[in-house]
Symmetry: C2
Subunit: 195 residues, 2 copies
């Protein structure tokens, strides 16, 4: 059976997860985030920190020299691919349960054509995201801008590898929200209205 | 004095103009479109068809070989630049009058920093835009897809030349709406809500 599902792709620090959670709460539907990680851990046997980090990001460093790609050239399959398979299975199973919000993890791509999706992209300027991560995560040894650029780059690489699509390219979404300009609350209102 | 102004950039055939008009009507503010062309005609002495066509589009053909660029290399200034200057002046003057909606013509770039802008990008898939232009403009000698691709390409080139920014790149906007998926009415509702 097909359900109405909101998938949220977001730039790191844009507040996309918060928007997803608050919209789900208003709509009285589940928002899968921590639960997703727990289910993937159960299904795959991988540990939660690995899933949290590697289920959305290509590894650090020069991408083509990294083990991420290197391992695959020998075996055609690596632990990252195992995670992808498990993640895909868990997302498909959860979606079968009914309407929900799913944050990140290429859910838009995985559920395409199977459910009635509202595909959302949340973004903000570098300055607004810097402000937000300092506020939410506190000071960090790493410069916030460097951290943001690194996260963006790795998320884009991950998305491209597994979906063969461009992350953040507006044509792949139904709506794109600049949370830095609109504010979190207005973004939540819009998603609630569109559901 | 600074006013709240909605600027709409849109892909050809996405219904961006209709969304702008209907949102303005609901909000009880003017939507500048035809009036813009008339004022530019008065100000510049150029004819309306020229303004309609050349105020948003780079000319057809290989862009770098065209007279658009060629003329400029001799005089540093051509009729297209005259139009740009006039367009800029008219948009700045109209914006001074109060809150409004302005469709196209790089108004987002021209008014940036001068007014309280809601910068909107309206887009849709090629298929949905084909459907729409056939419905709105009727059958055309030129294949609709070719016409859409040509319009997109020339609008992008025009925008880049005069603003030095990428047209349709989401980071330049506050919100991007896929009118083909959301429908015209929902897009109007969102703009009304955000004003």
């Amino acid at each position: 059976m097909s359900h109405r599902i909101i998938t949220i792709s977001r730039e790191f620090g844009s507040g996309g997860r918060t928007i997803g959670k608050e919209a789900a709460e208003k709509l009285g539907i589940p928002c899968y985030d921590q639960e997703l990680i727990e289910k993937i851990a159960e299904d795959s046997g991988l540990n939660k920190d690995f899933i949290r980090e590697k289920g959305e990001y290509a590894p650090r460093g020069s991408l083509f020299a990294s083990s991420f790609f290197y391992d695959r050239s020998y075996t055609g399959f690596n632990v990252q691919d195992l995670l992808w398979q498990s993640q895909r299975k868990v997302i498909l199973d959860l979606a079968e349960k009914g309407g929900c919000v799913i944050v990140g993890r290429c859910a838009d791509y995985i559920l395409q054509g199977k459910h009635d999706l509202l595909k959302v992209f949340v973004y903000a300027s570098m300055e607004k995201r810097e402000e937000r991560i300092l506020k939410v995560y506190g000071e960090n040894e790493e410069a916030p801008r460097k951290r943001l650029e690194d996260k963006d780059k790795r998320r884009r690489a991950y998305y491209r590898l597994y979906t063969d699509m461009e992350w953040g390219q507006v044509q792949n979404y139904d709506i794109a929200l600049n949370s830095g300009e609109l504010g979190i609350e207005k973004c939540v209102d819009i998603l609630t209205m569109l559901y």
